[in-house]
């Protein structure tokens, strides 16, 4: 790679999604939200990309960070979770997805640039987890990630209450 750069061939930049993603627990479950802009430097590469990734019928995962890492990680997780479901014969609990994600990200010591908001409902409870690229996770009633996380968090901190109804979630 370095020899190519020396010859004048520029390294392709990994496309990083400047992003706002958020997740919140409410009375009957969870709400996940994300913007749809994917940027390549200053250019908008995709005006309408989907940042809420399917994992299982009862759980979805919002992703911020390196677009390729997110796609690959969530697709890998989705298939592993499906195998888990078939193996155990039951709905996959959210803690299982959380464990699998954190163990994978920790193994790569932060080089997989995936910052995730995992949310879902299983037979025990409704869950929101924020998962950082190095593999630390926090279980929280509401969380935000991405470059817009501070702005989104300010809204949550001002307005979140426990056990909100669907219609109030703006």
């Amino acid at each position: 790679n370095e020899s190519l750069v020396a010859k004048g061939f520029p390294m392709p930049k990994s496309r990083k999604t400047g992003t706002t993603i958020a997740g919140v627990v409410f009375k009957d479950g969870v709400v996940l939200g994300a913007d749809t802009r994917a940027t390549e430097g200053d250019i908008i590469a995709d005006k309408n990309c989907s940042k809420i990734h399917y994992l299982q019928p009862n759980m979805y995962c919002c992703g911020a960070g390196t677009a390729a890492d997110l796609e690959m990680t969530t697709q890998l997780m989705a298939s592993q979770l499906e195998l888990h479901r078939l193996n155990t014969g039951r709905q996959v609990p959210i803690v299982a997805a959380n464990r699998m994600l954190k163990q994978m990200l920790f193994r790569y010591q932060g080089y997989v640039g995936a910052a995730l908001v995992l949310g879902g409902v299983d037979k025990h409870d409704s869950h929101i987890y924020s998962i950082h690229p190095h593999g630390s996770t926090d279980r929280l009633p509401y969380t935000t990630m991405g470059s817009g996380s501070l702005a989104a968090m300010s809204v949550f901190e001002a307005r979140w209450k426990p056990n909100m109804e669907v219609s109030v979630n703006a």
Binding site: R99, K102, Q103, L105, F106, Q109, G110, S130, H132, H134, G135, S136, T137, D138, L140, L150
Partner: protein, 191 residues
């Protein structure tokens, strides 16, 4: 994850306590973190340093202890948990940033048994307080007060610590988890 964590023995059990702030630079990413992590039903550890590293280590040790419990037929000793933490922290010391109190295992992997242990960035502010205030043979309520006061002092002075004070009282009968919100904490000189 800079922190204030501590643990104190009393006659009949242990009181462990921690603040609840996880910061990423100047941004507090989680203001209600639970840094008192279950290793087994009767062994808890306080985590400081890198959140990812300490969570991963605690998970490994916890599952190790579960397997050991099946093999031994009884819950494993704290020394075994502490030793397992030490093995991991010491052998991977170059790659990990983890300070864990089961007994006390600071960065680097040294393991020491003490009646009182404090750790994390906030601990530097309260060594003097511990030396002045700790008495051996306190009962449970006195120990909880001691832990609460010490953590409050550390919290107020350390920029990397804050939020609520989480305390867990572990006795042979079980674990009593408590949370002290900001308005429930003792007041000290606010110079």
């Amino acid at each position: 994850m800079q922190t204030s964590i501590m643990a104190t023995e009393f006659d009949g059990g242990v009181v462990v306590g921690a603040d609840s702030r996880t910061s990423m630079g100047t941004y507090v990413s989680n203001r209600v973190t639970d840094k008192l992590t279950r290793v087994t039903d009767r062994i808890y550890c306080c985590r400081s340093g890198s959140a990812a590293d300490t969570q991963a280590i605690a998970d490994v040790v916890s599952s190790h202890m579960e397997i050991l419990e099946v093999k031994l037929g009884e819950p494993p000793l704290v020394q075994i948990a502490a030793n397992t933490f030490k093995e991991i922290c010491y052998n991977y010391r170059d790659m990990l940033m983890a300070g864990i109190i089961v007994y006390t295992i600071p960065l680097g992997g040294m393991m020491v048994r003490q009646p009182v242990a404090i750790g994390g960035s906030g601990s530097t502010y309260v060594w003097g307080h511990i030396d002045a205030t700790y008495k051996p043979n306190m009962n449970m309520e006195e120990t909880v007060e001691f832990v609460k006061n010490t953590l409050t002092l550390a919290l107020t002075r350390d920029g990397s610590s804050g939020g609520v004070v989480r305390v867990a009282v572990i006795t042979k009968d079980g674990v009593d988890r408590r949370v002290y919100l900001h308005n429930e904490l003792p007041e000290f000189y606010q110079g």
